[in-house]
């Protein structure tokens, strides 16, 4: 049975921003506190999923390397905006973690099932 997520966390910012880092930190903290959590990557946030990111030369820590931590923290529901994926030339099959595709219009239903929504 698919249980409705209690906490929905939405990220709209690219993977190299402070907002994305805060979103990721909050998501992992929610996992620590056993919150039933779903993460949604919208718009530029899908850049988090680019494979083989090397950000050493430009300083910001790449969150991409931390993606496998989501599962370890019990975050198994990661939704991705399919139109943003297409805009970035990313394909579902090539992503570094398992995600659920989110079609246009499905976000509203997801928000409606969540107890709380945090937007970054």
């Amino acid at each position: 049975m698919n249980v409705a997520p209690m906490l929905l966390i939405i990220c709209r910012h690219s993977g190299w921003t402070a907002q994305a880092a805060a979103c990721f930190e909050t998501t992992l903290t929610a996992g620590v506190y056993d919150q039933h959590t779903a993460l949604v990557l919208l718009e530029e946030a899908v850049t988090l999923l680019f494979p083989d990111q090397q950000t050493d030369a430009v300083r910001p820590k790449s969150l991409a390397q931390q993606l496998p931590a989501l599962e370890l923290y019990g975050i198994n529901m990661v939704y991705v905006d399919t139109s943003a994926l297409a805009a970035c030339g990313l394909e579902l099959a090539a992503l570094p973690i398992a995600v659920k595709p989110l079609q246009a219009g499905e976000l509203a239903a997801l928000v409606a099932t969540a107890k709380h929504t945090l937007v970054f």
Binding site: T26, H116, V119
Partner: protein, 131 residues
């Protein structure tokens, strides 16, 4: 009566989000509801700065927050990691990190993300104000 938690992510004067959050908070209280917690996160921690000096004919948002918080005895938490990164410190953090002075307004307190999780667990509604 419902209990609300507000997550404020915008700095005063940089975007509309902090002022909107303040006005929303006022409206919630005026309607007879309860504010379970204010959580100032990311650039939102600047709302707790005692070093803001806006022009005299402009709204002093940090002091307005302070008045509202003290008047209604609201739990106002400033995220510790966000605050330290941005130079917002209370006296305890000033001593801990051997800094020259503190700048956090009285009424605000420093805390971790666990308090945000607590707010998510206990408030009826959580509203995010992001720039």
């Amino acid at each position: 009566m419902s209990s609300f938690a507000l997550v404020i992510q915008g700095a005063p004067y940089s975007s509309q989000s902090a002022l909107t959050a303040y006005r929303y908070c006022e409206a919630v209280l005026k309607a007879g509801h309860n504010i379970h917690r204010l959580f100032f996160y990311q650039d939102g921690v600047h709302n707790a700065s005692g070093f803001c000096v806006p022009p005299q004919d402009e709204f002093h948002l940090p002091r307005a927050w302070q008045r509202l918080i003290q008047q209604h005895q609201i739990d106002a938490v400033v995220c510790v990691a966000s605050a330290l990164k941005r130079g917002i410190v209370d006296q305890a953090e000033t001593q801990r990190h051997l800094l020259t002075g503190s700048n956090m307004l009285p009424g605000f307190s420093i805390g971790g993300l666990g308090l945000l999780m607590d707010a998510l667990a206990n408030a009826d509604r959580v509203v995010t104000f992001a720039p």
